[in-house]
Point group: C3
Chain length 153, copies 3
């Protein structure tokens, strides 16, 4: 099997570009992970994975990442993304949820927390804590917001 | 290179949630793979890969997965997903196809089988058999269906 | 961590099918990579990666791939995809951009080159050269175009 990641970090970013993909790229750079090859995963925190703030990963590394994002080309629009990581009080895996929408950071964070809680209820797991990070952005021309859990070994 | 998977299984699931992502999560749990980190791939059965029903994979493992899914928030709507795996009569790789749409399980299974047959014709490969699984669901509030081939080592 | 790819190649393809997924599959076959398990990544050229035209990868191999594609079922419509790889004049990583749209190959190549240049400007990196490949297609029934960087070890 592919190895199970042992470390994780939550990151968020926002940016503007002259195309949607450049705006997304700017948001990744703002989040500090613009030089990785993100491999999108859905979206479980491996058992025993350790929160590792400021995780350093070599450029170009294929990196398992759970993320939400939204890009808009409507000036003035408020866009938001958030990421939530539910940590179990049992010694097992956690659940990661992503949210993106047209709202504030606070609303995005509230929503993703509820999504994590629902993920735990569905699994009959008890929740020790929920780590949440969100971000919002008022679009200037073409803007993007991004919220992720990146995983490493 | 990344290693070539040696085992595979077909799974299907359906579920309801209070958000589209939670409904998708419920469908993954119903399919028995809600605790993995699915890495979406397009979509070849490796040569010699063995069908391994009930494949057990550790929680949080990044898992190559070919899948189709659809989520709807229209109560009463019928949604369906299906997965088809064409096995070659030659000793080579197979072709995986995914389908999702607004139809019954039976229609979804018929459609994905035709897609696999077309994939074999395009490659001038002869088809020994097609493994198919489908699922449908009548949406209550926010529903999702999911059909996949998961791969392991 | 997952290993950092050491080789790459640019490929493009186009095709027709009786469903969007079969058309996409035809485009992958035309590009010479229809028998791999593409793992989509966003989208950095690893430091020191070597251009390896005609890269041979075993069927079914999970293969990190940055790609753009578009599928249309409007007969007569012109669709295009392109891929651009910016190589740094410093000894560091590069930036990959993807484009897809309703235009000619030439327009798609011009656009993706500009996107790569913007990616370098955002990083304050100097650009040695940009490798670009594009493709277009006039849709017959259901058509697809695809442009990618595939990565190997």
């Amino acid at each position: 099997m592919l190895r199970v990641p042992r470390k994780f970090d939550l990151v968020v970013g926002r940016g503007e570009g002259t195309t949607p993909l450049n705006a997304f790229d700017a948001a990744l750079l703002d989040a500090g992970i613009g030089n990785l090859n993100l491999v999108r995963v859905s979206s479980i925190l491996p058992p025993g994975a350790q929160l590792s703030p400021g995780l350093q990963i070599a450029p170009g590394t294929p990196t398992p990442t759970a993320y939400g994002y939204i890009t808009s080309s409507t000036p003035g629009q408020i866009i938001a993304a958030s990421i939530g990581v539910g940590i179990s009080s049992q010694d097992t895996y956690g659940v990661i949820m992503e949210f993106e929408g047209f709202c504030t950071k606070e609303e995005a964070e509230t929503r993703v927390r509820q999504m994590v809680e629902e993920g735990f209820q569905m699994r009959n797991l008890s929740l020790k804590e929920v780590l949440v990070q969100g971000i919002d952005h008022k679009v200037e021309k073409i803007g993007s917001v991004f919220a992720a859990v990146i995983m490493d070994y």
